[in-house]
């Protein structure tokens, strides 16, 4: 992925042509297999963070044999400073509802559930109205699909798909072992497709315009557009839809305040990129920090030279220490050790070399933690400590 893209703004998600009824009824006429192929050839990947190919997910669920299946829309949006899903549900809810029902049509189920973040309670009544209208239309076209809203409990970990299902089943929000994956055994042990709000909105775009239009945007491995929540030291915070694959320097040119020292890509679970790496870093799905491109759920946080990277890391670690569900050893104890460890180095109670021990510890966390939360603490930790080591010590 050598060619760095210039920043390309796009306007698909929020463009509302009030044509969902037409798109829905038209799509429901089409062959299921053909729709799956459409989705696969769009190369859409999940926008909730993990980037799993959406077409494949739907395909797997469609192939699972069961008396009951579910479609879940993950609207738990817990990443601090991110509110793109909220915007989608406020401004274009019908796209999401239509996408859920198309998924239901494809995989063979008539039940959709929106897992709505507890803090978004204020959205509920509007959303319910939309659902009513949506279901009314479904009835009119003799399409059997119902959508319910489930209010989340407020814990960040409940955004993780299996913890989310546990919490829906009335259990404690703890991630499950995988396999089995939700497409085989998800909510109530039934095959389940769970997608992020934005992912679903993109499928609407794909079913409306065809996969080619989507595929032609972005770059290899990272097709289409994505919503970014821009925050931090920027003159224009907000939500922007951009083509994937842009280089971080183009991004900073557009959104920085002229003094950008580093950008945290992907929120607390993401990577901190220092200025010297802006040029070589692109925003997309494949690769690692040392390589070129960085995945993200959409959070882009800019920091200028007045910001302490130690404080940033301290903040993140405190967040993880509290938001870890606490069930697995590497994450529960690891987060505590990392936080107390950087404090000890800062205060001089531990030598600077202790940071290397902590880096090793994050490696173990990455290898052994049960879910994405514990596995990804290493991302911010290592990228911050390796790039701003002196700030950690002095």
């Amino acid at each position: 992925m050598a060619t760095a893209y210039n920043l390309k703004r796009a306007d698909f998600i929020f463009r509302n042509e009030n044509d969902w009824e037409k798109i829905l009824s038209r799509t429901l006429q089409r062959d299921k297999q053909e729709l799956i192929n459409e989705l696969i050839s769009s190369e859409l990947k999940g926008r909730g963070g993990a980037g799993f190919p959406t077409g494949l997910k739907w395909k797997l669920a469609s192939e699972a044999v069961s008396d009951q299946k579910y479609v879940i829309c993950n609207a738990d949006e817990g990443e601090p400073g991110t509110f793109k899903d909220r915007e989608i549900l406020t401004r274009v809810p019908f796209k999401v509802l239509a996408a859920m029902s198309i998924c239901g049509y494809i995989i063979g189920c008539n039940t959709g559930i929106i897992y709505l973040r507890g803090e978004y309670k204020f959205l509920k009544s509007e959303l319910e109205k939309a659902i009513k209208e949506f279901e009314y239309y479904c009835k009119e076209i003799h399409f059997d699909f119902n959508i319910q809203i489930f209010m989340g409990s407020g814990a960040y970990i409940c955004g993780e798909e299996t913890a989310l299902m546990e919490s829906m089943e009335g259990m404690r929000g703890e991630p499950r072992n995988k396999p089995p994956f939700p497409t085989g055994s998800g909510y109530m042990g039934k095959p389940t497709v769970i997608n992020n709000v934005e992912t679903l909105a993109h499928t609407f775009t794909i079913f409306k315009y065809g996969s080619k239009k989507f595929y032609d945007l972005g770059v290899q491995f990272s097709r289409g557009t994505k919503l970014f929540s821009v925050s931090g030291d920027t003159p224009k915070p907000g939500i922007y839809e951009l083509e994937l694959g842009m280089s971080l320097s183009d991004f900073v040119d557009e959104f920085g305040d002229g003094d950008t020292k580093a950008v945290q890509v992907g929120g607390a679970s993401g990577f901190l990129v220092p200025r010297k790496r802006f040029n070589e870093t692109a925003i997309g799905f494949k690769g690692k920090l040392s390589g070129i491109s960085l995945p993200t759920g959409g959070s882009m946080m800019l920091f200028n030279s007045t910001r302490s990277m130690y404080n940033l890391l301290d903040n993140y670690l405190e967040f993880f220490r509290e938001e870890s569900c606490g069930q697995c050893t590497p994450c529960r104890v690891g987060c505590q050790q990392l936080l107390i460890g950087i404090k000890a180095v800062k205060s001089g109670a531990k030598p600077a070399g202790y940071l290397d021990k902590l880096l090793k510890l994050t490696e173990t966390m990455q290898y052994t933690a049960k879910c994405g939360l514990g596995q990804s603490v290493a991302n911010s930790f290592s990228s911050i400590v390796e790039n701003f080591r002196e700030e950690m010590i002095y």
């Binding site: 970990i157 606490g326 590497p330 000890a344 090793k360 173990t364 049960k370």
Partner: protein, 595 residues
Amino acid sequence: MNKINMTINGVVYEVEPGKTILEAARDAGIIIPTLCYHKDLCIAGNCRVCVVEIVGQNRLSASCATPCQDNMEILTNSLKVRNSRKHIIELLLSEHNADCTKCYKNGNCELQELAAEYKIMSQDLIDLVPFKNYTIDMFSPSIIKDDSKCIRCQRCVRTCAELQGVNALTVAYKGDHMKISTFFEKSLNDVVCTNCGQCVNHCPTGALIEKNYIEEVWEAISDPEKHVVVQTAPAVRVGLGEELGFEAGSRVTGKMVSALKSLGFDSVLDTDFTADLTIMEEGTELLTRLKRSLVDHDPDVKLPMATSCSPGWIKYIEHLYPEYLGHLSTCKSPQQMFGALVKTYYARSRKLNPEKIVSVSIMPCTAKKFESNRPEMHDSGYRDVDYVLTTRELAIMIKQAGIDFMKLPDKKFDRIMGESTGAAVIFGATGGVMEAALRTAYELVTGREVPFENINIMPVRGMEGVREAIIKIENPLEAWSFLDGVELRCAIAHGLVNAKKVMDELKAQKNNYHFIEFMACPGGCLGGGGQPIPTNPEIREKRAKAIYDEDEAMHIRKSHENPEIIKIYEDYLGKPLGEKSHHLLHTKYTERNRY
């Protein structure tokens, strides 16, 4: 299904599909350490010490939670695995109050074993204990819960939920505050906990232990003024050996008696005696209820009648089905019958001042500690049972006394109250009370032995969670003619989660048994919360076999033929359900809240 091929550490194995990597490795003789895994429980996959490397994957996988797949290549001891595993043990220890030398579980602790194996000598990581607000709950008479020893494996939580259906223990809070707790963080003594001790038996560390009364008993033994009597429950004799170097399933009755005598108990007696007595009382009670129901059509008679010898079950029904307390047999448990008789009948026969008697019992059970502490258990005029020790505590005393258990000669129980029957021995296994009761009741009613080969009532045996048996009564003696042709419908449930099933069915009027045996612990007392650790399905099977072997080896196998039983009715009690029995051997129950 076809077998699949797996490579583990370079060697190819054929594996049954559906097995986990851990199971496949164990079958192949490769040991992978575990902590949150227990054969009795569902897979949690939270401790992560069992991680292995699947070649081609960057992340490691929890072997207990990962199913085998065709052509998988596994490394259980690569550098990456070793380093990660060691790191995880270090992490656990950094959160752990690891003062092993002062810990009750020192020497039988899975965490300690792992630390020893991985030679965790120095601790790079920062000790987190001083930053924690760990608490110890010592209010229960049965169980101590010390959060500073907890590794949060949730075995106890799963035990209480999956085996017992009680859910007294839950996980509270998240992140660094995550802990094992109870409803509103109350003491175990103030919640629905039944004191069954299954959580204690399943805890890998010293976070849940029995409250021990070892020093108190030593003190009593050393007091020349005191006459210390000890009774031993049937299941102890098939478990104790495991703590002292014997294979699981070894019968060590004679050595146990020997050891108790060496420890200095003044009289070594057998709870089996009151197990036989229970059969006489409970059997009569059942027949009386049947008569009241079938002949008198008394609407107040409560059927099915439920057994009452498992104090964990008693507390459970008191909390969760108090409206059914009338269905419980009013018989005390054998332990408490024994206690009441020790300070009356025994004292009188042996011409002892009951005030000077200390009554100790050795039980496979932690709930019996609570039971002996109940205010109503003072019918002798004194506290009927002063101290209850578990099988494990007895083993500790034997070791402390420097007794070489293996080399002990076999000895016999003292008299009186030391005679036992095969019927009493099988009280230790699920279905045993039922079988013993049927052996006696059937013969009482028909004058003939139960119609099963060698009087082994096989249908009531086994490890199925709920079992049913129907015994048809034909040609009864004249006094029992109303039972002619009656099919006695019996059921057996062990493990409270199975008790719950039967009770919920009863509530929904989906069953119509006459008589139900309930045991709080899986497998019955042989799998009790006070039995040696580990206890798992295979070990329970072995102990059960030992129990039934012991029964077959007994010379008398029916409770009503126990000569000491015949004698106690002649000399002291009069008749079953008589006035004296009523006073000493029967009890009443207490309605308790759910929360």
